[in-house]
Symmetry: C2
Subunit: 176 residues, 2 copies
């Protein structure tokens, strides 16, 4: 096990800045490229991250830390962002995500979680009992997973353009 709250926080607080540097004022060709029907663009990923701040990570941690007898998390809606992002620009989504993430981390900090708190449990609607530590580790890994996804979606635009070098570019063939 490698989890540390301080180290996770380091990653979580950087994600908005990484995304801003990567996607801020980026051309629509990059921002809205996807991997085909039913797949997500970088723009869609931003909407998904926003929806996660609003309904997933901190709200689930609140359930774990709260007094309710039933600590089952509501299921996460993986397509809610398509409607929520309509009519917004990438830069608007970046700003919204940065604002929500800062608010999430302020709430996390205010809890001053102990190791015992990190052992507290909630119930995932699919796989049952999970700890707060697992939730926070997953929040961190989830950020990193979507950074990798953005790289993958963008690189696949150049699948043909790279010619024979494709054999060296393992990201081109990652299905995700």
């Amino acid at each position: 096990m490698s989890f540390s709250l301080a180290e996770s926080r380091q990653v979580l607080e950087r994600t908005p800045e990484v995304l801003e540097a990567w996607l801020g004022r980026l051309s629509a060709e990059w921002l809205h490229a996807n991997e085909g029907p039913g797949t997500w663009s970088a723009f869609d990923v931003l909407g998904h991250l926003i929806h996660g701040e609003a309904t997933d990570w901190i709200p689930r941690a609140r359930i774990i830390l709260g007094d309710a007898e039933d600590k089952t998390f509501p299921p996460f809606d993986r397509t809610a962002m398509f409607a929520a992002s309509l009519g917004k620009s990438g830069d608007q989504l970046l700003a919204e995500f940065a604002r929500l993430r800062a608010r999430s981390l302020a709430e996390l900090d205010a809890w001053k979680l102990s190791e015992a708190d990190l052992d507290r449990v909630g119930r995932h609607p699919e796989f049952g009992e999970v700890t707060l530590r697992q939730l926070l580790a997953t929040w961190t890994a989830h950020d990193l997973g979507h950074l990798a996804q953005i790289a993958r979606v963008m690189t696949k635009r150049y699948r043909e353009d790279v010619g024979p070098w494709r054999a060296y570019l393992s990201l081109m063939s990652w299905k995700g």
Copy 2:
């Protein structure tokens, strides 16, 4: 085919800022984590990107655009960075990469490449004739591939910590 010089340049110029936001002043636990013996950490990737600026992308483009009869590229050394990075900090590597990338892009801009220039060819030591367009598309995809790699290496630190959520985190099982 999707390649455009202006769009590639957008990605190439952002990579140093993305890496700075992601890895600047990051704890050693994240920066030096790797995936086991013989694999690379984020720190190693930075060294690899620096070595690419110095010996791969622009130097190979110079060969393509030059007058030499033999336009075979020298092979790229994929382990040179281990020695070159010794004793340096991550922040030093970030600054060095940013400086070299800016210099590379200044040279690229100065060439004012035409579509005809992009069709000019060199010879890859392994797979033969390649165009300047393919080289520049690969440079772009190569940046994105290493951003995804950094995400992967970091996320694998939490392979056990995420518990049952591992099943949802496809980056955890990407071999790269």
